[in-house]
């Protein structure tokens, strides 16, 4: 696929050629084995006859290899992702086909149904202990069938009992909320975007059976109509037909194709930035609006990113020194820091919290030519003291996925190892704290209900809040606990003796000069259900690596790991990769100079923390944190100067696969 957005227009000839190719395959040497029942034989199920892009995105005529497709973002904000769209395939659907031979004595019609399932981010269909039972969580898997779930099994034309294989073709598409669950409806409308198709590999399963099977309701209702739960839970057809009772259903053929479809999300940073009218309006705040940043209809429909406006907790106020300086480019040193730490009076300080922009599109911009987004924390001046956060957020939620960002975010440390006060964050957050987006229940006492609820917060069975973070800043590791926090000497304000105010940091802190901490966090809202839920430091092994996860106490809503990395490498180079690999039972954080050289810097799984399963969006931001949140940090945000010059960042690429 040469076109960046993966949008193609297929003409009728391509459609016809796809069918012809399918038909030709009945004589091909790659014919698949036949599967026989008493009444019929089925062979050569090919799920994607009209889609010709292989797993690497190259065009191919081979129908029997796995394919790939990029999500079409056009209009997806309201419709949800549709795979494929009319912009990608002329018909707007995938075509599939199979061959059937009637081995009965009379012509007959047969019934068939196609199912698809996301394989990359699923729970195993069978229970780990009793493989004859469906895995408790398999109902969460993303699977679907006909868009109209009321259509159970489709009917073939009458097939003669002529000992010949007859072709059967059909079409389908992958859409959000494939089970048409009421949970995702609002005001009678199916908001498919609330349960968007997952990225990753899809498998396709064809089930063919006789009329008798369907008419006599031999298949469970929840299998023929996937929108119907069975005893309150959804029956996963892949379990049913491949591992469960359906495996031995008479006169029923189940064919799972080896051909898979890899779905990739590839939002173009150059496709514009939307400004939600809930924060700003064009009339009052549109001074910096332009063709690639604003809130017109096109940007609403098509922009994959919005400007992110942080929520600023007013209790995070701090009293900043009145110094404005270019920490990154200048000579600002520990001696400067120490002097400023001691020798300002309260009257001279500036009370601030982190701030957000008052002029949308001023600090973020989308470059349509270079396909990148620029972000900046603006410099400030006397009288306008400010430490302004900046960020962008994706607009389309997804569940699970390998979220990879290529970006050059601002450097955090200068040549003297001094920190400029910023935290570079690449993080996932719940798309909405609404009922449709609730996480699965926490079955041990529940979750703490509110993010800001404190220790006395009530516990509830389910919450919609979820967050998975990369936060990279200058702080100290939590683990090992015997080295936390460092024993700082805070000095005294005695100008007549330099050793009194220019006190060195502890040696282990100095040893980390030049390093920033890559902090990886999962917000599990203190659900106690994981077997090894605990507080304090705990080792989490991943292959031959051990990560140390820390939780403040059993009522703390998050678990964090920290790993030191060189600031120059992550933010002094042309760009760097950051990846959150969010899976149903684990989360892996990786970074690296190229996509093929990523290394793991954080790992958790569902034995230590509750992994979210709701829909999340991605934020990339450069933020000023109150260092009260990062206990033991050597540098206090209040003692770091306001930025003299803009602190720039660039986002080159976001891929979710």
């Amino acid at each position: 696929m040469n076109n960046r957005n993966g949008i193609h227009i297929q003409n009728t000839l391509l459609l016809i050629s796809g069918v012809l190719l399918f038909l030709a395959s009945c004589n091909s040497s790659q014919r698949k084995a036949e599967i026989k029942t008493e009444d019929f034989i089925v062979r050569d199920f090919i799920p994607l006859t009209n889609w010709n892009y292989d797993a690497e995105g190259n065009q191919t005529n081979d129908l029997l290899i796995s394919k790939s497709i990029k999500l079409d973002y056009t209009g997806a904000i309201t419709s949800g992702f549709i795979i494929p769209t009319l912009r990608q395939v002329h018909s707007g659907t995938f075509e599939f086909g199979f061959f059937i031979k009637n081995t009965g004595t009379a012509p007959a019609k047969f019934r068939y149904k196609i199912y698809y399932q996301n394989e990359s981010y699923k729970f195993p269909e069978a229970d780990k202990i009793d493989s004859t039972r469906q895995n408790f969580y398999a109902g969460e898997n993303f699977y679907g069938s006909w868009e109209d779930t009321g259509i159970t099994f489709m009917e073939t034309a009458e097939v003669a009992a002529d000992n010949q294989f007859h072709p059967v073709t059909g079409s389908f598409r992958i859409v959000g909320n494939p089970r048409n669950e009421q949970r995702y409806y609002s005001n009678g409308k199916n908001d498919r975007w609330k349960r968007n198709p997952r990225v990753g590999n899809y498998s396709f399963m064809l089930v063919v059976t006789t009329e008798n099977t369907i008419n006599n309701n031999k298949l469970p209702d929840g299998i023929t109509n996937i929108s119907h739960p069975v005893n309150g839970d959804f029956l996963n057809p892949f379990f049913y037909f491949l591992k469960g009772e359906g495996r031995s259903m008479e006169n029923t053929v189940v064919l799972k194709s080896p051909v898979m479809l890899k779905v990739i999300a590839d939002p173009d940073p150059g496709a514009g930035i939307y400004i939600p009218p809930s924060f700003f309006t064009k009339e009052k705040d549109g001074k910096y609006f332009c063709s690639t940043c604003g809130q017109d209809d096109s940007q609403f429909s098509n922009a994959p990113f919005a400007q992110f406006i942080h929520y600023i907790d007013p209790t995070t106020k701090w009293y900043n020194i009145p110094v404005i300086s270019d920490v990154i480019s200048g000579n600002y040193s520990r001696m400067d820091y120490n002097w400023n730490k001691q020798f300002w009076r309260k009257e001279e300080l500036i009370a601030v919290t982190a701030s957000t922009t008052k002029a949308p599109c001023q600090t973020v911009s989308s470059d349509a030519e270079k396909h990148l987004i620029n972000i900046k924390n603006p410099g400030t001046e006397f009288g306008k003291w400010e430490k302004q956060d900046v960020g962008i957020i994706t607009r389309h939620g997804l569940t699970y996925g390998k979220w990879t960002v290529r970006a050059k975010l601002t450097e955090l440390l200068n040549k003297n190892g001094l920190w400029n006060g910023l935290t570079n964050a690449i993080w996932l957050i719940t798309q909405a704290q609404e009922e449709w987006n609730l996480r699965r229940s926490c079955n041990k006492e529940g979750y703490l209900a509110n993010y800001y609820g404190g220790q006395a917060d009530k516990r509830v069975p389910s919450v919609a809040y979820s967050e998975i973070d990369f936060e990279i800043l200058k702080t100290v590791p939590y683990c090992p606990q015997y080295l936390f926090p460092p024993a700082y000497n805070f000095g005294t304000d005695n100008q007549h003796r330099m050793a009194n105010w220019n006190v060195p940091f502890p040696e282990e802190v100095v040893a980390d000069d030049g390093n920033v901490e890559v902090c990886t966090t999962n917000w599990d809202m203190a659900c106690w259900e994981p077997d090894e839920f605990s507080d304090g430091c705990r080792a989490v092994d991943f292959g031959d690596q051990t990560f140390w996860a820390y939780r403040w106490d059993k009522g703390y809503r998050a678990i964090t790991e920290k790993v030191p990395e060189k600031d120059d490498e992550l933010f002094g180079s042309e760009y760097y990769y950051f990846q959150i690999d969010w899976r149903p039972t684990e989360i892996i954080w990786r970074i690296g100079p190229s996509k093929d050289k990523l290394r793991v810097v954080g790992y958790v799984n569902n034995s230590v923390t509750s992994i979210p399963n709701n829909q999340m969006v991605l934020i990339i931001s450069q933020e000023f944190h109150n260092t009260r949140w990062w206990v033991g940090s050597a540098y206090d945000q209040a003692n770091i100067p306001f930025p003299l010059n803009d602190l720039d960042g660039k986002v080159y690429e976001v891929t979710i696969e």
Binding site: Y319, I324, S333, M335, K346, T353, L483, Q495, M498
Partner: protein, 627 residues
């Protein structure tokens, strides 16, 4: 269990009427069992204050450059002494020795301090650290670095620990442990004692070294409240003389000395290692037409040095000054002033002793030749002086005729003004003629300064007096000029002297301030330099209604992070060094190695690599009326 069994046994004994000595034996055995159980499972040190080690047997730990409010200890025995018990030689984090903590329920030696020794104010937090070495073992480690605080009876009242336990600890190498304990909610008396020691309750052999305690948390900033709150979403409006003030950056000028401590350092020769304690004068002493001030360095017992700046070479050079023998006895005069007392063409010096005054001048500067400091006139002190220290002397040009007068004032309101003439020092006016009530200090502290403080261009200099009341509750200042008609001093402005209601602070004029005058652009601008608490240099001017603080002066353009304001001692001398008619600042920075214990004055400087001695020239931006 043993207690219950023993009691029952004893009861049975009683009923059996066994002999008494067997009963005693049983009780004794019971006590032994209890003690052993306690030793094995109960850290006795938690209950009772442990005996600290005798620190006299060890090398003194405290370094001269040690950070404040902290204690370090590295278990090195003093030389030529017997090795104290509990030490291990051969494996140490620093030095040769460490402390042993071998086996179950073992303790390292403890270091101890009284709470009263931890610094001023209440003890609200303590940080501790140590280095630990565990001999490789398969044993599960259970150990702690313990901070115990006990009262004067030796009973432990606070017990904090850094837990070092588990199976994933480093072994066979030194690793650090640390912790920080918030004690804000604890009541700790000054006579309580702190102890730091290590406790091991595992089979492993452990060594510890380099104990460290640091007292206190981040100190609260001085001051009352913060005025500017940007979270209120209102634009900032500056208020007169209210912080925060804008920054005015004085930029380092090129003087060709490669940022060295010598005023002249061209790589081949170094001259002018000028100390902040040297007697320095800035004037044009040789009368050349450069329009620049020269720097004269006078020190008793040394030959004077005169430094002149070349705008072409962008560097200073030194001219050697010969001193007429008749001047030598005056070189250590308590008061020396520079001014144009007898001539408008070049500046001169007056040397003032209690009984006499010597006026001296300088010969012309001929390239390559030394100049001569020669006497002009020696006279008796023109007014009675019982104690010269009680007077402050200034050399203002009080009437704008480009000739400096001699002004002398005493804190009780006594003052004199003299002018030099052929006849010697003629009195122009004095307190006997009229009193200046504002110059009577009411028993407090008063300082006098002379300069061009008018907000309009003028030639006459003004006398500024700053006075602090005896109770330090308020500060007053006054500005007076000489009325040429009446010969009396009158207020420069119509308002009465200003009273500051707040306690004296860095934003208020103080008698202890150094007032640095010169031409900084707009007429009337001057610098206020104070180091009572911190480096504080502000640009001010007087107006009809009071004074105005224009901003805080800071420095830029210096090497690395060697900001002059960081020096423990920083002398600032204004003068037109670099550009005619524009005042720049010569800064001399030093740190102190040794102070006089009585006076606190530095008697030995310390050239430190992180902030090496410096002499530089900085220039403020030239302010126009609209700045």
């Amino acid at each position: 269990m043993s207690t219950i069994l023993s009691w029952r046994f004893l009861k049975k004994m009683e009923t059996d009427r066994k002999p008494v000595r067997i009963r005693v034996l049983m009780i004794f055995l019971l006590l032994i069992i209890l003690i052993v159980a306690g030793y094995l499972w109960l850290p006795v040190g938690r209950l009772l204050h442990r005996s600290p080690l005798n620190e006299k047997e060890f090398v003194n730990q405290q370094q001269e450059d040690q950070s404040p409010n902290s204690v370090s200890f590295n278990f090195e025995p003093a030389p030529n002494t017997e090795t104290p018990a509990g030490l291990y030689k051969g494996i140490a984090h620093s030095g040769s020795f460490s402390a042993k903590v071998f086996g179950i329920n073992s303790y390292s030696p403890a270091i101890e301090r009284k709470v009263s020794e931890t610094g001023p104010g209440e003890l609200k937090a303590i940080g501790v650290s140590a280095w630990v070495y565990i001999f490789p073992t398969k044993a599960d480690i259970t150990s702690d670095l313990i901070l115990g605080i006990s009262n004067k009876l030796g009973v432990n009242v606070i017990w904090k620990k850094v837990i070092v336990e588990g199976t994933r600890l480093p072994m066979g190498k030194w690793f650090k442990v640390s912790g920080f304990f918030d004690l804000a909610d604890k009541e700790i008396n000054a006579d309580y004692r702190l102890q730091l020691f290590y406790w091991n309750n595992s089979k492993a052999d452990i060594l510890v070294d380099d104990f460290y305690m640091v007292f206190g948390t981040s100190p609260e900033r001085k001051g009352d409240t913060t005025y500017v709150d940007m979270t209120l979403q209102k634009p900032f409006t500056a208020k007169l003389n209210t912080p925060p003030f804008p920054f005015i950056m004085a930029e380092k000028q090129e003087i060709g000395n490669h940022s060295s401590a010598f005023l002249v350092d061209d790589g081949k020769q170094k001259q002018g290692l000028i100390s902040p304690d040297d007697r320095l004068f800035t004037r044009n002493f040789t009368g050349d037409n450069s329009g620049l001030d020269q720097l004269l360095v006078l020190n008793p017992g040394k030959k004077p040095e005169l430094f002149v700046y070349s705008r072409e070479k962008k560097a200073f050079s030194m001219i050697s000054v010969n001193v007429d023998p008749s001047i030598q006895p005056f070189m250590d005069s308590p008061v020396i002033l520079a001014g144009r007392f007898s001539s408008r063409s070049a500046s001169e010096l007056i040397f003032i002793k209690e009984k006499e005054i010597l006026l001296a001048g300088f010969s012309k500067n001929v390239a390559g030749k030394e100049i001569l400091m020669r006497p002009i006139r020696k006279t008796a002190m023109p007014f009675p002086v019982a104690d010269l220290k009680k007077f402050q002397f200034l050399a203002p040009d009080i009437n704008g005729d480009d000739i400096s007068e001699l002004f002398a004032a005493e804190a009780d309101g006594t003052w004199h003004l003299f002018k030099f003439s052929e006849a010697g020092w003629e009195q122009v006016s004095s307190a006997e003629a009229h009193t200046v009530t504002e110059w009577m200090d009411e028993g407090g502290r008063i300082s006098f300064f002379a300069g061009e403080f008018r907000p309009l261009p003028s030639w006459e200099e003004t006398i500024l007096a700053i006075m602090e009341t005896q109770d330090h509750a308020s500060v007053k200042y006054s500005l007076h000029v000489l009325d040429p008609v009446t010969g009396q001093f009158k207020r420069l402005f119509r308002y009465k002297q200003k009273l500051h209601d707040t306690l004296p602070g860095p934003d208020v004029l103080n008698p202890g301030d150094q007032i640095l005058t010169g031409n900084f652009g707009m007429p009337g601008l001057f610098l206020k330099y104070n180091r009572d608490w911190r480096f504080d240099l502000k640009l001010l001017s007087f107006e009809n209604s009071g004074y105005c603080i224009h901003g805080n002066v800071d420095f830029k353009g210096y090497e690395k992070d060697h900001n002059p304001k960081y020096f423990e001692i920083l002398r600032i001398i204004p003068g037109c060094f670099i550009e005619p008619g524009k005042t720049s600042l010569l800064v001399i920075g030093r740190n102190c190695k040794k102070s006089d214990p009585g006076t606190g004055k530095c008697i030995e400087f310390d050239d430190r690599p992180e902030l090496p001695n410096t002499i530089q020239v900085y220039a403020l931006p030239y302010f126009s009326k609209n700045d």
